[in-house]
Amino acid sequence: MIGFVLVSHSAQLAEGLRELAEQAAHGSVAIAAAGGTGDPTNPIGTDAYRVLQAIEAVYSEDGVLVFMDLGSAVLSAETALELLAEDRRTRVRLCPAPLVEGTVAAVSQAAAGAGIDEILREAANALAAKAPQADATAEPPGAAEIVVAVPNRLGLHARPAAQLVRLARGYRARVTLENLTAHAGPADAGSISAVLGLGARQGHRLRIRAWGNDAGDALAALADFVASGCGEGDEAPPGAAAPSPAPAPPLAGRLTGIPASAGVAIGPLVRYRPSAVHLSARTVEDPEAERQRLLAAVAGARDETRGLDEWSLAHAGAGEAAIFGAQSLLLEDPPLISAVSHAILDGRVDAAFAWQQETRRLADRLAALDDPYLRARAADVTDLALRVLRRLTGVAGVLPELREPSILAAPDLAPAEVQDLDPARCLGLCLESGSPLAHSMIMARAKGIPAVVGLGPAISALADGTNVAIDGEQAAVWISPTAAEIEELEDRRERRVAALRQAAAERHRPAATRDGRRIRLVANISAVAEAAEAVERGAEGVGVLRTEFLFMGRANAPGEDEQLSAYRAIAASLAGRPLVVRTLDIGGDKGLPYIDFGAETNPFLGWRGIRVTLRRRDLFRTQLRAILRAGAGQQIRLLLPMITSLDELREAKSRVAEVEAELEAENLPCHRHMKIGVMIEAPAAAAVAEQLAREADFMSIGTNDLTQYVMAADRTNARVAALADPFQPAVLRTIRQVIGAARQAGTDVALCGELAADPVATPLLLGLGLEEFSVSVPLIPELKRAIAQWTLPEAEAIAGKAFGLDSCHAVRRLLSSHR
């Protein structure tokens, strides 16, 4: 007999609720009230021992559910659990449902014989019953039904199934499908996994049943739709001959994608399909937060899949698109999502593990069907599962070992995967999806690996070893190029390499315009080893040391000593050149296992950068101590990310002052009165740049984030990525305003985003009066040459013209015409 414990601050409320619940229980469950403190002079409150007693009173092996009202009721219930004998503890669940509705719903379910998991689910949904137009939850008798035969040659495979599910979801009625021929189902018609699981083949008879508001309409529409072949008509579905949805591989010719990293490469193709690592379960403290993480990852993967969907619609036949369409439906599949949610909430396991378990189960189920086309859907599920998993774990797959210099083809790559690529072996990258603005492609450019993205699934259909050539600038991929094509491409590559070599030879000449204006050219780095490389390539110092590398991929934050030695090593490599250290910039798309970000529906507008470090004082203090200590006798400055107001700058400054005082008190050598700068990444910071300029010692404009925030466009969302263009007049005006404010105040200003490194933008930025460029290490020589091409008056004239233009295309055209 399942036991119930009702905890409230008020003894009367708990007792009253017990009475109410008994009515629904029909004596089949044990209910105990644990309300109030039991102290007549201060009756309102909760008492963990009363909760403990109540649990003991109703305890049985079947388990106990505890319902609570607010705040300290939860604390007391948790404390009671701690006081409970260990073997009993695992059978007691604290239920986060609303006290009254949740209790009544749960007791009713228990009385009807439901198991604990089902009870918890119903309790969690208890508030829905109050929603004004809630559908009947029980199946009323006498539902309407129709039986139809499946006419489709290949049965209800992904495309027709997806169409059917979409149609069913358009109705409020509850619709189920049952395969009378194969004795499968009934399945929820709103669930793609359930519908695919019916294994419906040509000629199978389906029973469609519907309940609720518009049941009649739903039934008629769905029956018609199935009978007419689910919108498939007579044409053979794509890949009808083979169970694989991939298009027939082109044997020769050219594919065009989106340019992502310049350069030419020729070599054999090696395909990379990331495969899942085996995960073991991890216990989580806060399962609800974990569930939110799951939902966020699923939503992210869904948006990505939809982006592919649209791309395919535009570039291929609708057949391809429907495959992705079915995939994105799987990502909203209610039974799948709720199975994973319950695994997390009930088992207190991490989202990645629960997701992997459930998706494996689904893939196995599909793989066991005796229809080859449906069996192939198991691969879709695996593919999708991986996409979500990679978001959840941030862990990259294991790249294939490239035995000879090759060109890598993959669905997409994570930054960590690109990080691992050796440019000597990986000559170029061809991605099915991806975005030129994704972090992984920023890294490809930094490493000098040519890349084309957005090539669609065709690229993966090529056989390993196929000879291909890519030109990153033209966004073109040649399949089995002809001798003439190869010759021309080789030629282009050599010209480019020669230009780069010349630039490298001139590296130690300081950067200056043609008419002699000195420009500071510094490096963005995110590894200790990059500091030496920066000097080697002619950087005058480091403009941004991204310290995240010290914090990522580990279970605990790095300690003071570890950070100190990293900062010292970098400063030593720079041999007296200036070093700007940016404090931890985490949040947005980057999480850390030891920082609880809670559930954020909008992480880019959430807890990130300075917002995190000002609240996680422990982390901030340790990092500041290490930076200040490393700064002793060195030219080190401090840079604060994601500043949006003067208050944050002031607060951060006072933390720095505290740390400095602390170090002095401890007699530890440190950099006193360290210069403190702010990143200008949010429009808010740009708007108050003139105020910030007065209190900050320097400013650094981060154009990547600034562009996204100004344009309100996520560059990883394929549908709006084009808006996130730094040449948009809105972005350029924002940059102009910041540079102007800085010059007015006599504050140094640098630009450290992608835009700084783009030679197309160089005259524009010089013309605005920018005197410091901070770019990734490999781009330094090229940028130095770009700077030397211009005189200031020329640059100013171009900038003047650019600001007269009203679209990013016009600006780009103008700048290209001057190259």
Partner: protein, 215 residues
């Protein structure tokens, strides 16, 4: 650790608890007033009731050693405080008890370990973070300071002085914060400008230790 001049004994622990009963009786109005501004005007009453019940229980059933004392304190607080402070301080002493297992006297490292375990318990139970305007805003800085002092070789008095000073600073720092945990969080921005009652009681707890364990 056997040297009574540098260690807190069972008697020292009992003295601290006796002082706490007086302190919370004396600050009952202040704590209740603070809780009136952003809560339900019971924190002072809760704390006084809890710690006077602790005195009664210790007198009725004197525990044998330090661990047993803290266990008894935890049970009494959980049973008698009523508000959120009950399970929170209860858990503090529950964990403190575990940290003192087998000890007949507490040296400098043991005192720090006691607070570390107890404060860890409060954090785990309440899931508050620094800046949420709770007792943790006094407790965590205190713990940091005590750890640093211990590492720097301070004696117990020095450690507790640093801890109490940091707790006081932490308590004052709750004034401009917006509450994100506990009842006060229902007030949203209107919780700004008031000192957190729980941070205040935590500060009193540390100050009492610093005064009593001046060996």
């Amino acid at each position: 650790m056997g040297d009574l001049n540098v260690a807190v004994t069972r008697e020292g622990v009992l003295r601290w608890l006796a002082v706490l009963a007086q302190v919370f009786a004396g600050n009952r109005e202040q704590l209740t007033d603070l809780d009136r501004a952003i809560g339900d005007a019971d924190h002072g009453i809760n704390m006084e009731r809890g710690f006077s019940a602790v005195q009664a229980e210790l007198a009725a059933n004197p525990p044998a050693d330090i661990r047993a004392i803290f266990q008894s304190v935890a049970a009494t607080l959980i049973r008698s405080v009523g508000g959120a402070a009950g399970p929170l301080y209860g858990t503090f002493f529950l964990r403190a008890a575990a940290a003192c297992a087998g000890k007949t006297a507490l040296g400098a490292a043991d005192v720090v370990a006691l607070f570390q375990a107890g404060i860890g318990g409060v954090q785990q139970r309440g899931k508050a973070e620094p800046g949420d305007k709770t007792m943790l805003d006094a407790l965590l800085p205190a713990l940091d300071a005590m750890r640093a002092a211990e590492q720097g070789g301070s004696d117990i008095a020095g450690i507790l002085d640093r801890g109490a000073a940091a707790a006081e600073a932490g308590m004052l720092a709750t004034i401009p914060m917006q509450a994100r945990k506990g009842r006060a969080s229902y007030l949203g921005e209107r919780s700004i400008g008031h000192q957190d009652p729980g941070a205040t009681s935590s500060c009193l707890l540390l100050q009492a230790a610093a005064r009593t364990w001046r060996l």
